[in-house]
Every structure is written in C-alpha cells, then in structure tokens.
C-alpha cells in the first residue's frame, strides 16, 4: 500500500506576491485503488521569533520568546472522501494569497538566525483509523510586489573615513593616518540590483592588505519592554587586495545574495534591517570599519 503525495506549483521559481493566487496540482500516486477520507490543502504563513540567548539572557530568551504567530492560515478541501484510482492522479488547486486582517501583514519570506518567516502549502490525505494519514508540505516564497523608488531616496551617500571619524577606538596612537573618501549611490537599494558606489583611498601611511564589503543583517526582536538586537554577517566581498593605488576610485559593487535577504521589514514585534560595513585591513592586521545602514526594497 504505497501512496505518495506531491505538491507541484505552477511557477518554477515558487515566488508569489500578495494578492496573487497560488496555483498548482496535488499529485497522488498510488499502486492500487485506495480509499481515503478526503484531501485537504492548507496554506500556512508563520513568523517565529526567538530571542538571542546572548543579549537577553538564557532564561529570558526561553520565557520571552513569543510563540510563532500565524500570518495566514486557510485550508481547502481539494477532494472529498472517496477513492483514489490506481496510478497517478493530478488534482489542480488554486489558493488566494490575501491579507486577512490589517494586523496580519504578509511579510516577505525570510530565514534568519532569530527571525523566520516561512510560508508553505501543506497537503493532508486523511485515511481511516487503521491507516496513517499522508502529509506533504511544500514551501513557497512570498515577495512583495515591486514598487517604484521615490526620487528623494536615490540620493548619494557620501562618506569620509579618517582616524578622527572612528568611534570606539581604544588606542588612537596605533591607528595610522589615512583618508578614505567615497560614496554609496543611495541608501536604498532594490534587491534585484547590485549595491553600487565608489571608494577612493586618498592617502594612507601604512600599507593596506585588504578592503572588504560586509553585508550585515540586524534582527531586532521583542517589543517595548525588552528587545534584543542581533547583527550577523551575511556576505563578505573583497574589493581591494593588496596595497591598492592611492587616488583611484575603486568600485563598490556587491550582488545581494538571494537567501538571507528580504526587503527591510519593520513589524510591531520585530525588525529586519541591513547594514553595510566597509572594512579596511592594514598590513599590520589592524582593521577599521565604517557602518552604513541601508534599506533594501523590492523594486
């Protein structure tokens, strides 16, 4: 009695936007004709938040971690109880991906260290008491519909890094004299396009061994009373190797990774934000870094 279930989505990329309907087929494959008590398909959207034990303390993290809360949950019966014929049966379905209430915003799919927003389709084939039910789930990805970038957000972000601009320095004497100028093309970046900008090492009295771009996500959990903020690196890209030429503009260029990123999200109970670190490592292995908050949008 082997019976398998599969959910095949119509879109190869499995990306859906809010307001669209998720369509596809449920494939039931059975060796012999089998009875069942109905097949249901459930669309689930869950946001789970976990407090970091590091910043909030172990006990608090367990106590305070709120339960995963549902963003969408709707089910539909694709087949009434009856029999499945032997062989392959395809049952088409279509489920609308619509925001149910104003409090339940459909956030973008996101897999982070502490925050996870996960959408899936779950198919369940119920059977009589004697036999086990058959389950199958299939993840799909929710992305917001691309909007247009406002003009005023497209402003260049100039920066200048000098020993004086550095914060949080323990021993200023050990920092060599240097000046790095540059700009990011914007503070807001569409995810589909690379991060761009320019960087010039105007002067530096020490040799440089590497210049790197670090993309960091910042996850903030919790609400008013106790919130934790955790930063973790997603991607590190080297843009300068060795003692780069002084006075030549290096391109700042980074393609956003597909996983681990989503549009910058601010929800009542959590925040997902991104930062860019420009890290300059000197030839004595000392490094200086400058952080830029950036906003990622679908566009």
């Amino acid at each position: 009695m082997s019976l398998t279930l599969d959910i095949q989505l119509k879109r190869h990329s499995k990306i859906y936007h809010p307001g669209e309907s998720v369509s596809g087929v449920v494939v039931v494959e059975s060796r012999s004709e089998t009875r069942h008590d109905g097949i249901t398909l459930t669309m689930d959207g869950v946001a789970s938040i976990q407090l970091s034990p590091k910043s909030a303390g172990l006990i608090e993290s367990i106590v305070n971690s709120s339960k995963p809360f549902s963003l969408i949950n709707q089910s539909v019966e694709v087949a009434k109880s009856g029999r499945v014929p032997a062989g392959k049966t395809e049952i088409p379905f279509e489920l609308p991906l619509i925001q149910r209430s104003s409090s339940k915003t459909l956030h973008e799919t996101y897999h982070g260290a502490y925050i996870m927003i996960h959408y899936s389709l779950r198919c369940e084939l119920k059977r009589s008491l004697l036999a086990k039910d058959v389950n199958k789930s299939q993840e799909f990805i929710v992305e917001h519909r691309s909007g247009k970038l406002a003009k005023d957000e497209m402003q260049q972000v100039p920066f200048e890094i000098r020993p004086e601009t550095l914060q949080n320095v323990r021993d200023r004497a050990r920092i060599p004299q240097f000046l790095v100028r540059g700009h990011l093309d914007s503070a807001v970046f569409p995810l589909s396009r690379p991060l761009t900008g320019e960087l010039t090492v105007c002067e530096c009295e020490r040799g440089i061994s590497s210049i790197e771009l670090q993309l960091v996500r910042v996850e903030t959990c919790g609400s008013v009373e106790g919130h934790t903020r955790e930063a973790s690196e997603i991607q590190n890209i080297q843009i300068g190797e060795g003692d780069v030429c002084r006075g030549v503009a290096l391109p700042v260029y980074m393609v956003f990774p597909r996983l681990f990123t989503c549009a910058t999200t601010v929800a009542p109970s959590f925040k997902i934000e991104f930062e860019l670190n420009i890290v300059i490592i000197f030839d004595n292995d000392h490094l200086v870094a400058e952080t830029f908050p950036i906003k990622l949008v679908r566009c």
């Binding site: 190869h12 990329s13 690379p194 440089i208 210049i211 670090q214 960091v216 930063a231 973790s232 690196e233 991607q235 590190n236 890209i237 080297q238 843009i239 300068g240 190797e241 060795g242 003692d243 780069v244 030429c245 002084r246 006075g247 030549v248 503009a249 290096l250 391109p251 260029y253 980074m254 393609v255 990774p257 597909r258 670190n277 292995d285 000392h286 490094l287 870094a289």
Partner: protein, 968 residues
C-alpha cells in the same frame, strides 16, 4: 694484308646542300631557362641573389647559387620542436584562432603569446602549490593547514570577524569530513612539478564536471585562480598566468556549452519556450550569483571575466556594462603585476564578447599607468632572477600584458583614441612611460606612428629611464616609418631629431643597429648626399677606436646593404666618399673580418650595383675584398663554400667592364689572376674573359690588326697560354687550350696558336691516362668529343713554318693516339682513329672545307703538293690497320661492339675513300657485312637508303656499283 688508304677528291659543290631557313616562333633555349628558374625559386629567399646578379652569372649555375638547401634547413627553426610545443594545447589554440585574427603582422595571437611567455618566463626556484584537490599520493613537503590560520588575527578581531573565522573553520571541517579533502600546501616544487600539478587539476576539473559535481569544478577553478594572487617569483608569474588561464578556459567553455545547450532547447520547442527560457536563465543566474559571492577579489574577477561570454548568451548589454565594471574592479588589485595580467585577460575576453567596444581598454591602460606611477614592488622584495636588474625584470614581465592591451586597442580604436593614449604617454613618467612607448611602437598601426613620429621622437628623447633602452625604441620607430612614411614635410625634421639621439648612443653595436634602421629611412626618402652624411657620422663613431672591433663588421655590412638596397640612386652612392670610407674599413682588416662578412659585402655591392662596374676605385676595393675572400680559403673550407666564393668572384669579374679601354681591362685580369690563383673556376672564367677580350679586339679592328692591337692580342694569347697549365683538371686544360688556340689563330697570332695546339695534343694524352673520376664522366664520352674538336680545328690550322714533313700537328695527334697504351677492353682508340681518318682526309683536300679568317690554310701553303697526300695516306693506312686489327680482335661476347665501329668506319670510307681501289672496296663490303650483322635492321635499312641517296646525288658510279653489289 695492309690496305692502303686512298683519299678521294671531294666535290664540295656537288655535295653542298642548301639549308632551308624557317622562321622560328620560340627561342630554342627558352624552355630550358624557364625550367631552371622554376627550380631556382626555392633558394630565392637569400638576399644575395637578385635579378641583377643572375644576368651576370649563367642561368644554369644560378640554380646552385646560394648555400645549398640542406645547410639552409639547418639554420631554420626545427619544425618538429615548434610543433611539439603547440601540440599540448591544440584545442585551445583553435578556439583562440577564431577569436583573434590579427590584421597587423606584428600582432600576435593569443597562442603566440602563450608560447612566447611559456618559453621566456621560467624559474629555477621552488614554488608552492596550495589546493585541496591534490591527490594524497603527492610527494613533497605536505603541510596540512586550516584555511583560516593565515587569516587568523588573534588580536583586534571583531565580533563578526570571529564569527566568520568560526564559520570558515566549520567549512573546512565540513570539507575534511565530506571528501577527505583539506587544503594542503606543498612547498619546494620545481617548475615542472608545478605545471604537472596544474595539468592534473585541469583533468580533475573536467572529470568532476562530467560526473555532475559542478560545484567541485567551480571550487577547483577558484583555487587555481588563487594561485595567481601570489606574485613572487615575478619572473615566473607570466607562465603561471598562462597555465591557470588554460584551466579557466576549460572551465568557462564547459559552463558556456551547458548554458548554450539549455538555450538551444528553448529554440526548438515553441510551446514551452518561455518556461524553459526562464529555466535556462535561472540556471545562468545561479552561476552568476555563485560567482558573485566569491569572497576574494581575484578569483571573483577572473571567473566573472571568464563567464562573460555566458552573459552575452541572453543579454549582450549586460556583458558590455560588465566589461567596464570589471575593468574598474581590477583597480582593487594592489600589486601592479597581478593587475596587469588580470587586465590582459579581461581584454582578451572583452574582444570576443564586445568586439566594437574599446573604452574599457583605454581605461585599463590609464589605470595601469597610474599603478606604475605609484611605484613597483618595494626595493629588495622582488625575487630577482639570477641577478636580473629590477627594472629590466619589470620591463620584461609587464611587456606582454601591455602589448596585448595595446594590440586590442590598436585593432579597433579610432585614431583619436590612439592619440589619447599617446597623450597618456606624455603624462606618464619613468618606467610606465617607457613601457607604454615601446608598446605603442610595437602595436599601433604604422601609418599612425608615422603621423605622430615627431611627438614620439620627443617622447623617446624623454625616456632615459630603465626599461626598454632608447636605442631599441628608436629602432622600433625606425621600422615603423620605414613601413609607412610620415608626411613629406616632416622628413627632415624627423631625421634631424632622431639622428641627434642616435649619435648619443654610447654603445657602438647598439649605435650601429639603430643607425642601420634609420639609414633605410634616409636612403628611401633622401638623396645619396644625406646618406653620405650619415655614413660619415658612422665612420666618425668607428674612427674613435683605431681599429674597429670585429664584432661590428656584420652591423657595418648590414649598413652597406641597407644603404644600397633602399637608396633611390645607388649609382651615385658608389662614388660617395664616406661610402668608400666604410669599404676601406673592411679592406684595412679584411682577413680579420671573417669570410662571411666580406662575402656579404661583396655580394651586396655586386647585387645592388646597377650595370657593369666601371669605376676603377670601386673595382680596386672589390678586388681587395675578393682577394681577402680568396685568401680565407684553406684546407678546412668545404667544397660548397669554395664553390660559392668562386661563383661570387666570377660574377664580380664578369661585371667589371672598362668599355673600350681594353688594356685596363687586361690589366685587371692580370691582377685578378694574381689574386685568385687558388680558385680554378675563377681562373677558367678569367681565361674565357681574356679570350672574349681578344675576340672583341678583333671585332673592333674588323679583323685587320694594327701594330698596337696585334701586340695586345698577342698579350692576350700569352696570358691564356701561361694561365692554362696552372689548372688541375686536364679536360678543362684541353678545352681552354683549344679555345685560346683558336682565338689566337683568329687574331693571326700563328706562333701562339701553334703552341696552344701542341699543348692541346699533349693534353690529349694526359686526359687519356686520367682516371674517369678526374675527367668528369666516362672517358669514352668525353674524349672523342674533345679530340673531334681538336682535329677539326687542326684541319684549318696551317703547319708551322719549320715543320719538315707536312701535316705536322695532325701527325702529332695521330702518333699520340696510336702510341698511347689504351685499355684493351675499350674501343676508344678505334673511335679516335676513325675521327682522325676524317680529319686527315679533309686536311689533304686541294680545297680545304673551311678556313680561319685571314689565315692561309695548308691548301694554299702547299698548293696541292703530292707529298702532302702521300704523307696523309701513309698516316691513314696506319690508322686503318689499327682499326681493322682491333675489329678483328673483337670476338666472342665482344663481337657485338663491332656494329657501331663498323658503321663509323663505313661512313668514313664512303665519305673519304677512293672506292675504285679493289682492296678498299672489299674492305668496305666486309665492313658492311659486319655492320648488317650487328646493327639493328632499322639502322641498316637507314644506312642503305642514305648511301643510295648519296650515290644518286653525287652520280658516283663507284657508289652506285657498290649499292648494287654489296647492299643488294
């Protein structure tokens, strides 16, 4: 029974047949000449041989002119070895040939670069190889390390840093657990082992790809590129680059093929086209995402560049913008060497992806220059190769990438872009400027360089820095303007500007090379006067050292031939004082100069001299030089060389012509004989020339010599008579005696003629006793011809006044032939005897068949004296007896040889004998019997027809009778 020979009187009038003249449409020798030329063509590539020379030297020997083809091959690069080098990478070469088709001959393809780099940049030092894909069986010092140790920074590690370090550690552990692979570093490898490892990796990459482990393939590619991030040892870096490029090419080709395949499916299926197209794009994007997230700059750069053709599969624009971005990204590479080679690779891919684009190349060049301005490797850090100078090393390793970039630019950019590059040169300084200028000269179109020649000259003047030396730059510039001339108005300014620099070149050999290149320019565009001035400068340079170094002679020689071959008016050049000055440099020390150089000088002088040599000074120079050439021949000289030198000298001698000043001409020949006494073929040519001179004199005087000319021609004859005995080859001596004897007789120098003839007769004996190899052919082939010639000459030669029995010379020859101990197994004596029968019979006719102009023959001297005929008949009878006894002696197997002899004798008798004599008639019939027995029926029939025709024509009753009786 001895048969007595009776000579019949010939009726010349009755026998005379008129020849019909037919108009010929083609020259009879034409075909021969053409074939000869066709054969000669392969050896044409030698500079020394040109049309001018070939009309002096006879066409047949010109085939043999120049070094023989076998020794020619020795000089050429071994075709096998060059093949071998290529064999390793034929597939890549094929690919590359498609992508770059150089328009300029100086431009090299990637394959050529590859070969050049691999053979020029090698190291004897040890190398380190880091890879996680090495086979465990690898020998050498294996030190397992975790990838992070080098990046491990205990202090000052930020939170994210620590996290990353841990992640990396995890990765490594993961890899170690999964595939048993850890990053291993193998040190102390030789270049060969290093290369071997890379080749092995390439194989593994292909294997991994085909076994669906594409990520592993990508990892291998990345690790290989990482090898390039270590620039030391600098002198090996270019080779390392090429080796890694091969792996990258393989990888890129695999990815490209896969994507192309996916896209092709889309083209076939109409319905699902969109879906599959999307899928293919998705796959492509996946590749790009994977590559874009490579942490290190260098592998990311190289892989993105390598995958550029894949971009253009679905969006050509993306590839084009990518080019610009990548070119800017290279700025992030701190080491100028690493950056330069990355640019080289980018340009190579860029050319194939977007052939029309060039802004990125210009940008790259600018960055390159900028990077060089910031200084190279810190002093003492670069790994020196056997004491190579730092700047020289830099010039060497930076050369290929720069030239490649310039070449890419030069083939597609507009002149205005090139102009910009030139401006960059002006802004540049030090090594960068130097490199740039040399690359400009090496790759930019000739006509562009020609237009900008003045400003480039200024640039060169400013380039006193290390790198490519100034004289090399000047040479390159010179070669460019020699190819395409700058505007007329700039010629003089340019020459002045350049020559100012050339004069300052301190090293003489460099000076001479550069001067040679610019001399060509001068010769092409200016008159001989300017060439003379330049040569004067060269002389001044050489004059400083009292005896110029022998090393400079080849350069000087090159100078002379360039001046001659490119000059617009070579004739006037020969009389220029400084030109002759240079010649006298050779002359002063001609022995030391070495035969090769002197030969070159002589050859180029002869080749380029228009028309015959008439200037006595020049002739004197040439004579001295050729004399030196002659003196250089010793026991070790090969026959081939000897032949070539002789050929050269002969063509020189034949080219000398003083017009009507015959005495000077003879003087020259006398000097030449003294100078070239060791070369037989030269002496032969001299004798022939003198004979020619004698005949020319005769022609000028129309056969009537005055006292003065008579003395002159006697001098000529004496010259020949004295010169001939010094030759070693007997046949040549015989021929030349004959020639000079007949010329002497023609000129009415009877004494000299007789002497020559007597000597010739003696020579016949000499020839007869020679070995066959000395004669140059079968004795039976050579001697009869010579004896025939001699005897027929003797027919017209008058007897010397003091000879008592008539037919003095012919009798001498007869005695010689009869008394010589001939080899028994040959018929040669018989053959010679028959020809003598002919000659003697002819010589006793009352009216000789021919006379020498204005010389009285024996017929008028003796006036039909019966003693002559008596003498002749006794001689003939003796000869006849010899013949008959010889023929009777032939028996058994040898009997067959009778046939031809009988035929010859038969003809002789029919022509000359008084057949009314019964003994002769019976001898004739016996001869006929022999003849018809041993000859082929065809020949017999032919003979019969001819005899009957003759009998009818002459109405000779005896012959008619004969025909009726014997021949039936």
């Amino acid at each position: 029974m001895a048969v007595v020979w009776k000579i019949k009187d010939r009726q010349w009038g009755a026998e005379k047949k008129h020849l019909e003249c037919k108009q010929a449409t083609s020259h009879p020798l034409q075909g021969v000449r053409e074939r000869v030329l066709k054969h000669a063509e392969p050896s044409r590539d030698k500079k020394t041989k040109t049309a001018v020379q070939s009309n002096v030297v006879d066409p047949l020997s010109s085939v043999l002119d120049g070094p023989d083809p076998l020794s020619d091959l020795l000089g050429a690069p071994d075709p096998l070895s060059s093949r071998m080098l290529f064999a390793g990478s034929q597939e890549t070469d094929k690919m590359i040939e498609e992508e770059v088709s150089p328009t300029d001959s100086r431009h090299k393809t990637w394959g050529q670069y590859r070969q050049h780099i691999l053979s020029n940049f090698t190291t004897t030092g040890t190398l380190t190889f880091t890879s996680s894909f090495l086979q465990p069986s690898d020998s050498g010092v294996v030190k397992t390390q975790t990838a992070i140790t080098e990046r491990h920074r205990a202090q000052g590690m930020s939170g994210s840093e620590r996290l990353r370090a841990r992640l990396e550690q995890m990765d490594t552990l993961d890899e170690a657990g999964g595939g048993g692979n850890t990053v291993r570093e193998v040190g102390g490898l030789t270049q060969e082992e290093f290369t071997h490892r890379l080749v092995a990796l390439r194989k593994e990459l292909t294997q991994a790809w085909h076994s669906d482990q594409r990520v592993k393939a990508l990892k291998i590619a990345i690790q290989c590129v990482k090898l390039l991030s270590l620039s030391a040892p600098e002198h090996f870096y270019p080779s390392k680059f090429i080796l890694v490029m091969e792996i990258l090419d393989t990888f890129a080709e695999l990815v490209h093929q896969r994507l192309k395949h996916k896209f092709q499916i889309e083209n076939f299926e109409g319905e699902n086209a969109d879906l599959i197209n999307l899928e293919a794009q998705e796959t492509a994007r996946n590749w790009f995402y994977k590559v874009a997230s490579i942490r290190e700059l260098l592998p990311r750069l190289y892989l993105e560049t390598a995958l550029l053709p894949c971009y253009s599969l679905f969006d050509p624009e993306e590839a084009e913008t990518g080019l610009g971005r990548l070119s800017r990204m290279i700025r992030g590479l701190g080491d100028p060497l690493i950056a330069a080679y990355a640019r080289m690779f980018l340009c190579r891919m860029g050319v194939s992806v977007a052939p029309t684009l060039n802004h990125y190349i210009a940008e790259s060049l600018q960055d390159f220059l900028h990077a060089l301005k910031q200084g190279l490797w810190p002093e003492g850090e670069a790994d020196m190769n056997m004491g190579e100078d730092r700047d020289a090393l830099a010039a060497r390793v930076f050369g290929p990438p720069l030239q490649w970039m310039m070449q890419c630019l030069a083939t597609r950019a507009h002149h205005s872009h090139l102009q910009k590059v030139l401006h960059q040169c002006e802004e540049g300084e030090g090594l960068g400027q130097n490199l740039l200028v040399s690359a400009v000269l090496a790759t930019f179109p000739h006509n562009f360089v020609a237009l900008q020649s003045l400003s480039i000259t200024q640039l060169i003047a400013g380039c006193s820095t290390p790198g490519t030396s100034q004289h090399d730059l000047l040479c390159s510039l010179g070669r460019c303007v020699n190819q395409a001339a700058p505007p007329q108005s700039q010629h003089l300014t340019l020459l002045n500007a350049v020559w100012k620099l050339v004069t300052r070149i301190p090293d003489t050999s460099h000076y001479l090379t550069t001067a040679g290149v610019w001399l060509e320019f001068t010769a092409k565009h200016f008159s001989s006067l300017e060439v003379n001035t330049l040569l004067g400068d060269v002389l001044k340079h050489l004059g400083g050292e009292c005896s110029p170094d022998h090393l400079h002679y080849p350069a000087l020689l090159a100078l002379i031939s360039t001046a001659l071959s490119h000059s617009t008016d070579p004739h006037s050049l020969y009389s220029m004082s400084n030109f002759l000055g240079i010649l006298s440099v050779f002359q002063r020390d001609s022995v030391g100069a070495g035969a090769g150089v002197t030969r070159g000088v002589v050859a180029s002088l002869l080749t380029h001299h228009p028309g015959p040599l008439t200037d006595p000074t020049l002739v004197q120079h040439l004579l001295t030089l050729s004399g030196a050439l002659h003196d250089s021949i010793n026991a070790l000289t090969t026959d081939d060389e000897r032949r070539q030198i002789s050929q050269l000298i002969i063509s020189f001698i034949r080219q000398v012509n003083f017009g009507h000043d015959f005495e000077q001409q003879l003087d020259f020949y006398v000097n030449a004989r003294a100078a070239f006494s060791n070369l037989d073929s030269v002496l032969v040519a001299l004798i022939q020339c003198v004979c020619q001179l004698g005949v020319a004199t005769w022609r000028v005087m129309r056969g009537q010599h005055s006292g003065k000319t008579a003395a002159f021609v006697r001098a000529c004859a004496a010259y020949c008579f004295i010169t001939v005995p010094s030759l070693t080859a007997t046949t040549t001596r015989l021929r030349l005696y004959l020639l000079s004897g007949s010329v002497a007789l023609l000129n009415n120098c009877l004494g000299q003629g007789d002497a020559c003839m007597k000597a010739a007769i003696k020579e016949v004996v000499e020839v007869a006793s020679c070995e066959e190899s000395e004669v140059g052919g079968q004795l039976t082939d050579v001697l009869p011809g010579l004896v025939n010639n001699l005897s027929s000459m003797l027919v017209a030669t008058p007897d010397p006044p003091d000879a008592s029995p008539p037919l003095y010379l012919l009798r001498g020859l007869t005695n010689a032939v009869r008394s010589h101990p001939w080899q028994k197994d040959t018929d040669i004596q018989c053959i010679l005897s028959i020809s003598l029968l002919h000659a003697i019979s002819a010589a006793t006719q009352d009216d000789l068949p021919y006379h020498i102009h204005s010389v009285e023959g024996n017929d008028s001297l003796y006036g039909g004296d019966p003693q002559v005929r008596q003498e002749a008949e006794s001689l003939c009878s003796a000869l006849l007896e010899d013949i008959v006894s010889h023929m009777q002696g032939l028996n058994g197997v040898q009997e067959k040889r009778c046939g031809p002899l009988a035929l010859a004798l038969f003809w002789c008798m029919v022509t000359w004998c008084d057949l009314s004599q019964p003994p002769l008639a019976s001898l004739l019939s016996r001869t006929w019997t022999l003849l018809s027995r041993y000859l082929r029926p065809n020949s017999v029939k032919l003979t019969k027809e001819w005899v009957s025709q003759r009998s009818v024509q002459l109405k000779d009753q005896v012959l008619v009778q004969l025909v009726r009786e014997c021949l039936r």
